[in-house]
């Protein structure tokens, strides 16, 4: 088997058995990137020198028998995580030349665990989008293709570059961030696994902020096991993040061995939305049947406020974004457009530095927070958010986890769904509710549509029960036996 086809768990075993060196593994991935980056645009910045230096240090530790948890494993880092000395752009012109003087907590933990950083992956600008189309560096492209249609497909978003890189075997795993579905939807579109942990599980310190009550970092990889291994390193209390949870980090990979026998799995009936492709409905039913065969009990549950989740999200997230992005003023870092006076400098800088979708969200957020409209929009949305959380809390009295599709469609061609902003927002219909409620959720590839494109199922769990969703995700993965390969994948 080629080195780029190994799972992260397999590669770790081979490194520790000294069957392969971190250098060989890293070089194989760098060659794969060299071959496919021109087609996939999965990375905004490549860090081959850093990667080889990290691989060298890992090899030295491995030779001494002092292997760290992720020693020598090549990863891709979403370009939303600040990396000390390595340009961090958030896919925005605003931060095109920003070189952070510090490291995000999550990437610092990965580095300290011996991981090798191949580069910074593409995303929607400031993580605002579901297709990568809003990246100021051009969108990442999915490695998947339809047999009869040459149009390039979206890898999803916002963590589309990470998903494309992992699916195309350019990295063993990647970091993503998820505000309304930005880990799960691209994972589903690219046929990989991804976990959005419970809000507070991973530190937000050093992650370029979008919507602070929703943003959460998580792992993306080709198997649930690989995600579990990465999450164990990424998670944990951090005093530098005021909303970081003081919860112990369990050995997540141990949960893979758990049986789903006796678990009660809820099927939320409100997720049967109009116009859902029959293939996705069929896969969802198949997923439930697999879990039933494995000994779980399937129950229909109701989350009555589900239809209100998306509009709630598209008030709360823009409100928080308008506040967070106020920091980009051309004074301390980032783009500056010179002007005669301060106000003009702010206005010209922000007009030039932000793309169209980011501006729309800032303006919507500014409006819903403005005097006279705050109660009608923002306060009302926060109240509906309470109702959405209450729905989940009540459902989790009856069931242990929820099973839903991850996205309402397979990947679509880049540039589609651009008629109006709301058409794109509907992509997040199944992922946004768990985000609003802060719940852990994962996407696992479970099948393909008639054109061979991957489809994912989502498992949503109770707060801080990542172990539960990992166990259910692993059971689905085992039954699905997803083995499809994208058209564009590393050859060695």
């Amino acid at each position: 088997m080629s080195l780029t086809d190994l799972t992260l768990a397999e590669a770790r075993k081979k490194l520790r058995a000294r069957e392969v060196s971190a250098r060989e593994l890293t070089e194989a991935h760098l060659r794969a990137i060299e071959a496919l980056q021109p087609k996939l645009n999965a990375f905004i910045t490549l860090t081959p020198e850093l990667a080889l230096a990290q691989a060298k240090a890992a090899d030295e530790r491995l030779a001494r028998g002092e292997a760290l948890p992720l020693d020598g494993l090549p990863l891709a880092i979403k370009d939303l995580f600040c990396t000390e000395g390595v340009r961090t752009t958030a896919a925005s012109r605003m931060l095109e030349n920003f070189i952070p003087p510090y490291e995000s907590t999550v990437t610092a933990k990965l580095k300290a665990a011996g991981a090798v950083f191949l580069g910074k992956t593409n995303l929607d600008e400031f993580a605002m989008g579901s297709s990568n189309i809003t990246s100021a560096f051009g969108p990442a492209v999915s490695p998947w293709q339809r047999p009869d249609d040459p149009r390039p497909l979206t890898p999803g978003g916002s963590s589309g570059g990470s998903a494309a890189a992992v699916a195309a075997r350019l990295a063993l795993g990647a970091t993503g961030t998820d505000t309304g579905g930005s880990i799960r939807q691209p994972a589903a579109f690219c046929g990989i696994a991804g976990i959005k942990p419970t809000y507070g599980r991973c530190s937000r310190y050093g992650i370029v902020a979008f919507a602070s009550s929703l943003d959460q970092a998580g792992p993306m990889a080709r198997t649930v096991e690989d995600c579990a291994i990465l999450l164990e390193v990424m998670a944990g209390f951090d005093p530098k993040d005021s909303t970081s949870a003081e919860e112990p980090v369990p050995p997540f990979a141990e949960a893979l061995k758990r049986s789903v026998r006796g678990l009660r799995i809820g099927i939320p009936k409100e997720y049967r939305v109009e116009g859902m492709p029959p293939e996705i409905l069929a896969l969802w039913e198949k997923g439930a049947a697999w879990l039933e065969t494995a000994g779980a009990e399937i129950r229909e549950v109701s989350l009555p406020h589900t239809p209100h989740a998306l509009p709630t999200y598209y008030i709360v997230a823009p409100a928080e974004c308008s506040s967070n992005l106020a920091r980009y003023d051309g004074v301390r870092y980032g783009l500056r457009v010179p002007a005669e006076d301060l106000t003009e400098m702010y206005e010209k800088t922000r007009a030039a530095g932000f793309g169209a979708e980011v501006k729309r969200r800032i303006l919507i957020g500014t409006y819903v927070l403005s005097a006279g409209y705050y109660d009608a929009y923002y306060l009302r949305a926060q109240k509906v958010r309470s109702l959405i959380l209450r729905d989940f809390t009540e459902a989790f009295r009856e069931v242990d986890a929820l099973l839903t599709p991850t996205a309402p469609s397979a990947a679509f061609p880049l540039g589609e769904k651009m008629d109006d902003p709301v058409t794109m927002y509907l992509n997040d219909v199944f992922t946004v509710p768990a985000s609003l409620a802060g719940l852990p959720a994962l996407s696992v590839p479970c099948g393909t549509d008639a054109q061979g494109l991957p489809l994912g199922l989502q498992v949503i769990g109770r707060p801080f029960d990542e172990e539960g969703i990992i166990a259910v995700g692993r059971a689905l993965e085992e039954s699905a036996g997803f083995a499809a390969r994208p058209a564009l994948a590393a050859q060695e």
Partner: protein
């Protein structure tokens, strides 16, 4: 509820984003599409419902009020578009 051009201009100024006159029609239409869609929340009765500000109910932690970092002006200023000594430079604000 529909935003007119004057309101869009006012919001853009509040957000400190320059919007040119020829951008207004398209931008207003897009914002109105979004606002028209989120308007559906108005149909819900939420009078008795408390607002949720964050997904996890946790009390914010307190810490000792002591300085635990600082003294790194070079790092702080490293990305400054314009600096003078240890200061950020902005256009003149006081006449």
């Amino acid at each position: 509820m529909s935003l007119d051009f004057e309101t869009v201009r006012r919001i853009a100024h509040l957000a400190r984003i320059r919007v040119e006159d020829d951008e207004l029609p398209k931008l207003a239409a897009e914002l109105n599409t979004i606002l028209g869609w989120v308007e559906q929340l108005a149909a819900l009765d939420v009078a008795e419902i408390p607002p949720l500000t964050g997904p996890v109910s946790m009390a914010l932690r307190m810490r000792e009020d002591v300085i635990d970092d600082g003294g790194i002006p070079e790092k702080v200023l490293a990305n400054a578009p314009e600096r003078l000594g240890d200061y950020f430079v902005v256009p003149k604000v006081v006449e």
